[in-house]
């Protein structure tokens, strides 16, 4: 394929895509030029697929057949971000946002809305997109999207994820064309360096500098790697990019290959992401067919190809040296640095490794210039960041905002606040390597340095919201269980430290904690931070230490008062029936697996604490909220 051919495809598809990007009035006008009366976008990301979005598509196709609709385009996209509302379906040019679709809903929408002269089916729209006066808000203007700025996720949920022409129409490969025809390798690196882009995988290392080191490293064979082993349990932005816009990663890796002098790339992707893997495979195949991968790309004489390697369930493989060991077919155990990957990486060759979200930022920087990118964000954290917002929050999903956006904006304006009228207690960022942000810091601007300053870290952008029902000691224990399980076992501090730390937390949560345990926790934690071989061990104590710093009183309550204020730690709880609320319905007693509840019909029941196994069945069955944990 030549640059001209690429531009021709882009031009042909541009209007179709743009209908999905611009405000309604213009979209309607533009839509008329595309040959499609309407376009229906259905999310085919993991979240919505899990909620059976494919059945929605099948139903649409069947209904179209039945109703003779042949001028409406169905597009199976990647993730829209608002996973909690899946399956999601958007109809353009109106921008009508249907949520939690079922096949029956799809049939209704086809019959009432998508037929010629049809009208939006308001009852099926996401409630927040319908004004009290009945007018409909396009999905791009709802609070969840309004406050976002989508750079890395620019095409996710906008294009058909398995169609390279749509990707090209949306701008993919334009940056590659520019790089190969107009820029020198050094020019590319300079552009990335000046943009201030920092790696989105965790440590925030300047991307341009990484490329430069790899470029100047000696060696004829070099590699470009993509870390798609998104290990933080609760982060899924990389998965969404791969599912929604796989070509943007292939393009960026090829650009890096050109910049550093590499001709081969590897994408190391979690095997737990089957849809992402499939889409990547399809994308690579399409890209090779178009000559956008392979020999003599776009007639430039530059060769580059990409292989996929599947992970097999090891969090430590997010660490670069472990990831490379894994690609080499070995146990994913990290090795000490130096030598750094830029000099001695995959197969002992100079290697540049970036994570998916970082790759997703490359093309926009090339196309819009470093000035544009560095104008977004804060002093030392440029651009945007995608957060995977989860836990006790209304709008669970992916949120991309400029660096420095406050936590409050993310949780309340975008996330819609905490459900069930509960209080916000803390947010955990950086997953098992990070820490918690207590409510008092809710105004903090989310960027690399601010988060570190309060004992947390950006990590890959997982953001788990916790409410008053969350026990911070239990959460610290949860993360430590994770890291202890995922420690590779190579270095002493991490292999044994995580285990001893976990044992101590277990002891505290089971009511056997002693004051000296806190000192022990601090001591082991400090040791792991200072002496572990890799970032996993060095950061594993962070959740514990950060909880200790911000919620020390909760640790104290567990140790001194043998109580769990949030009512989570089973051993520290007693179940108790409030006599004035109990109606004597006997439901609790009948459902108690331990026969610990006694009482006669219509008289208040009682729980025998000695027999109670604290399973919670009684609370689940009580219709009068008469049973409490104290």
């Amino acid at each position: 394929m030549t640059v001209e051919q690429l531009k021709k495809i882009a031009a042909e598809k541009a209007n179709i895509i743009n209908v999905r990007r611009i405000v309604r009035e213009q979209a309607e006008k533009l839509s008329r030029t595309t040959g499609y009366r309407k376009q229906v976008l259905v999310c085919g990301g993991t979240g919505c697929t899990s909620s059976h979005s494919h059945e929605v598509i099948e139903q649409l196709e069947a209904s179209f057949e039945e109703l003779g609709i042949d001028d409406v385009l169905i597009v199976k996209t990647g993730c829209f971000g608002l996973c909690a509302l899946g399956p999601i379906m958007i109809v353009y040019p109106e921008g009508a946002f249907y949520s939690q679709m079922t096949p029956e809903h799809a049939r209704t929408v086809a019959e009432k809305h998508l037929v010629k002269g049809g009208q939006i089916v308001k009852e099926l729209l996401y409630v927040e997109t319908v004004h009290d006066d009945g007018s409909v808000i396009p999905f791009s203007e709802i609070p969840f999207y309004k406050h976002q700025m989508r750079v890395a996720l620019r095409n996710c949920g906008v294009i058909a994820a398995e169609d390279i022409d749509e990707a090209i129409g949306a701008g993919d490969y334009a940056a590659l064309a520019r790089v190969l025809t107009e820029m020198t390798p050094d020019g590319v690196i300079e552009e990335i360096q000046k943009s201030g882009l920092r790696g989105r995988g965790g440590a925030g290392f300047p991307t341009g500098m990484k490329w430069k080191f790899t470029r100047i490293a000696e060696g004829d064979v070099k590699y470009v790697c993509c870390n798609a082993d998104e290990g933080d349990p609760g982060a899924f932005m990389d998965r969404s990019v791969l599912e929604g816009d796989p070509h943007c990663v292939l393009e960026a890796m090829t650009i890096a290959g050109y910049a550093v002098g590499a001709h081969e790339g590897y994408i190391y992707v979690r095997a737990e992401y089957p849809i992402a893997v499939d889409r990547l495979k399809i994308a690579i195949k399409q890209s090779r067919k178009y000559g956008l991968l392979g020999k003599n790309i776009l007639g430039s004489g530059f060769d580059f190809d990409i292989h996929i390697r599947l992970g097999a369930g090891a969090f430590v493989c997010g660490e670069e040296t472990a990831l490379m060991a894994s690609i080499e077919g070995k146990r994913g155990e990290p090795r000490p640095r130096p030598p750094f990957s830029a000099q001695c990486g995959l197969f002992r060759k100079p290697t540049v490794l970036n994570n998916v979200e970082t790759w997703a930022n490359i093309a926009p920087i090339i196309l819009n210039g470093f000035h544009w990118f560095s104008s977004i964000g804060t002093e030392r954290s440029k651009g945007t960041k995608v957060f995977a917002v989860g836990g006790k929050i209304h709008n669970v999903g992916l949120v991309e905002v400029p660096m420095g956006t406050s936590l409050k904006t993310i949780i309340y304006d975008i996330g819609g606040g905490i459900p069930n009228g509960k209080q916000f207690k803390a947010a955990q960022t950086g997953g098992p390597s990070g820490g918690c942000i207590p409510a008092k810091h809710i105004d903090i601007g989310m960027d690399f340095d601010n988060l570190v300053s309060i004992g947390s870290m950006m990590g890959s952008g997982g953001l788990i919201v916790m409410d008053e029902d969350t026990c911070m000691v239990d959460i610290a224990k949860f993360y430590l269980e994770f890291t202890a399980d995922e420690s590779c076992g190579k270095c002493t501090p991490c292999r044994i430290g995580t285990k001893r730390l976990l044992e101590t937390l277990d002891k505290i949560c089971s009511g056997n904690g002693e004051p000296a345990d806190l000192e022990k926790i601090k001591e082991i934690s400090e040791h792991m931070k200072s002496s572990s071989l890799c970032a996993l061990g060095q950061s594993a104590p962070n959740p514990v230490l950060s909880a200790l710093e911000h919620f020390g009183e909760e640790y104290n309550a567990h140790i001194y008062e043998k109580s769990c204020p949030a009512g989570v730690c089973k051993s520290l709880l007693n179940y108790y029936i409030e006599p004035d609320k109990c109606r004597g319905c006997t439901l609790c007693a009948r459902n108690c697996p331990a026969n610990a509840i006694s009482g006669t019909v219509k008289a208040a029941h009682e729980i025998d604490a000695k027999k109670c196994i604290k399973c919670g069945q009684c609370i689940a069955h009580c219709k009068f909220n008469a049973i409490v944990k104290k």
Binding site: P493, I524, H527, S530, S531
Partner: protein
């Protein structure tokens, strides 16, 4: 050169050096545990952590490269605290049965715990003991003592065997063979390099000490010992003598003080091997039988070939190893001559090797050896007997197997068998004035090649030690790239002087001196001082042929001194 300061001491080291190497020059000690020179350098135990300018946090001295102007601090409170905590964490997982441990007083962990004032129970103790694997004929593994340094794994990888490896991950990680299969059922060649690499008591040889004591006190048994060539050069280390001290005389005295035993010199059957092997080689060359011929004295190498290169079994000399030749001679010729019932003779070989323990159990060899003791086990018996080894007077080997040639003695170093063979061949083919020393085949180089013209015949030979090097030679032969008449191979790097049964040497010594060279030098010095330096000149060898075998490769010799091999599956 790079200039840096270690604890304020200026040193200048070549570019690419590590902090550990630089510290050595500044005479600053940095403790190590997972590091072992020539074997492993992975920075995983975290004991050698130091502070260095320009580095974030503490860095591992064993792997961290020096840079110009760097300032390193190796004994700050932070560094000491880190080391102490690391040791204490290890101790919390370690079976602390130190009093009865084979490595007590010789254990790297024990030494460091003492140096850093570690409290053994500060982080508790794991009481879940892991099973002990003692089914192998040579090596016992007690994983409850394993500290996960993986030095044994690295040693096994160097040998290109990979019989053991890390299993599981994190705290559940253990070292061993796949599944819970014993080492006995893996392609392990019993070389014992894992044992000498182990810093603690997690690996040790399958002991024959109790059996030997039993035989010594059994009035119905006559016990004879014979000692392998390299033992004289290493046994002294177990008693604090400098590396490379020849203690032959004291060793013989000590053995005789163990009880009513006789002590013979295995160099004699080394010489006998030369006679048999040289004859075999000539007959192979004449009859067009497969060449190159490979030496067969090393049981580790023999098993390796049976597992990995069975197609070369016809190339392996049919000669038994000197150990098995000696035991066969003792149980036949010696018994007959002295009117001893072979069942009443208890034959103990003292060898530098764990593979020889396996060899004892090979049925096709006739079961002539009753027990094989490593150098370490002999040292243990000498200590147990309360013998003041260092101050012993010297004795000579018992007759008729006392005096042997220097050629037999150098069997203990890589290249020694080859040189011994060349000495005899040179005389047989070239007559008087034949050269005596063949220095090209000496030294610790992994693969050595040479070409000699002896009496008009040109022979290409190769010598390899370490099974990784053996593999290189075999692959070169296989591909047709190389062609030799005769190849000597020893499983252990450097040959028997560096065998898996040799005394434990503290890391601090092992990482700083060239053990292989110093020990080999003791043998070459001994050889240089001998009156007899060619195998065929050894009186006992002549006696054996005259009185018993007739001539080399005779029918009787074939029956007693030769053996056969068979292909072994790996799994």
């Amino acid at each position: 050169m790079v200039n840096l300061k270690i604890n304020g001491i200026a040193v200048s080291v070549p570019e690419g050096s590590t902090i550990l190497q630089a510290a050595k020059l500044a005479n600053v000690r940095i403790p190590t545990l997972c590091y072992l020179k020539d074997v492993q350098c992975v920075g995983s135990c975290r004991l050698c952590l130091v502070e260095a300018t320009g580095a974030r946090g503490l860095v591992a001295a064993c792997v961290y490269p020096v840079s110009e102007g760097m300032e390193v601090r190796t004994n700050t409170p932070r560094v000491r605290r880190s080391r102490k905590t690391t040791i204490e964490l290890i101790l919390s997982t370690h079976k602390k049965k130190c009093l009865s441990c084979v490595r007590s007083m010789n254990c790297e962990l024990q030494k460091l715990a003492l140096e850093y004032n570690a409290e053994e129970d500060r982080f508790g103790t794991d009481h879940d003991l892991k099973p002990i694997d003692d089914l192998s004929a040579s090596v016992v593994r007690d994983n409850s003592k394993c500290i996960m340094c993986t030095r044994c794994v690295a040693a096994c990888e160097h040998q290109t065997i990979g019989a053991i490896g890390p299993k599981n991950r994190g705290y559940s990680k253990v070292i061993g063979s796949p599944y819970d299969v014993s080492l006995a059922f893996t392609p392990c060649v019993n070389c014992g390099q894992c044992v000498v690499a182990c810093p603690v008591g997690a690996l040790y040889e399958k002991s024959a000490v109790a059996e030997v004591w039993g035989a010594i006190v059994d009035p119905s048994k006559k016990v004879v010992f014979y000692t392998a060539p390299s033992v004289r050069a290493t046994l002294g280390e177990a008693f604090g003598l400098p590396v490379g001290t020849n203690v032959e005389g004291r060793m013989v005295t000590a053995i005789k003080q163990l009880g009513d035993v006789e002590c013979f010199n295995m160099d004699i059957t080394a010489d006998l091997t030369i006679m048999e092997e040289a004859t075999e080689l000539l007959s192979r060359l004449e009859n067009g039988n497969p060449t190159p011929m490979f030496t067969s004295c090393c049981p580790g190498w023999v098993k390796f070939l049976e597992h990995y290169y069975p197609q070369y079994i016809p190339n392996l000399s049919t000669c038994k190893s000197p150990q098995e030749m000696f035991s066969a001679v003792l149980k036949t010729y010696y018994c007959r001559k002295n009117g001893i019932n072979p069942d009443d003779l208890f034959v103990v070989s003292v060898i530098p090797c764990t593979a020889k323990k396996f060899e004892v159990s090979r049925e096709e060899l006739g079961g002539y050896t009753d027990a094989a003791l490593t150098t370490r086990e002999l040292a243990k018996m000498i200590k147990e007997a309360g013998i003041d080894f260092a101050n012993l007077s010297e004795s000579e080997y018992d007759l008729p197997f006392g005096d042997a040639s220097g050629a037999g003695a150098i069997f203990g170093a890589t290249g020694g068998v080859m040189e011994a063979a060349l000495r005899t061949a040179a005389v047989k083919l070239g007559g008087d004035g034949a050269p005596l020393e063949f220095k090209e085949v000496r030294g610790t180089e992994g693969v050595k090649e040479a070409e000699y013209t002896l009496g008009g015949t040109t022979v290409k030979i190769a010598v390899a030690s370490g099974l990784g090097n053996a593999r290189k030679v075999l692959d070169a032969i296989k591909s047709g790239e190389k062609d030799y008449a005769f190849v000597e191979i020893m499983a252990c790097p450097g040959g028997c002087v560096n065998g898996g049964g040799q005394p434990y040497v503290h890391d601090e010594v092992r990482n700083n001196v060239d053990l292989k060279t110093l020990r080999a030098q003791a043998l070459y010095d001994y050889d240089g001082e001998r009156n007899i330096r060619r195998s065929h000149e050894t009186p006992a060898v002549e006696m054996l042929y005259n009185e018993f075998f007739g001539s080399p490769n005779s029918a009787k010799a074939h029956k007693l001194l030769h053996t056969k091999y068979s292909k072994r599956e790996k799994y």
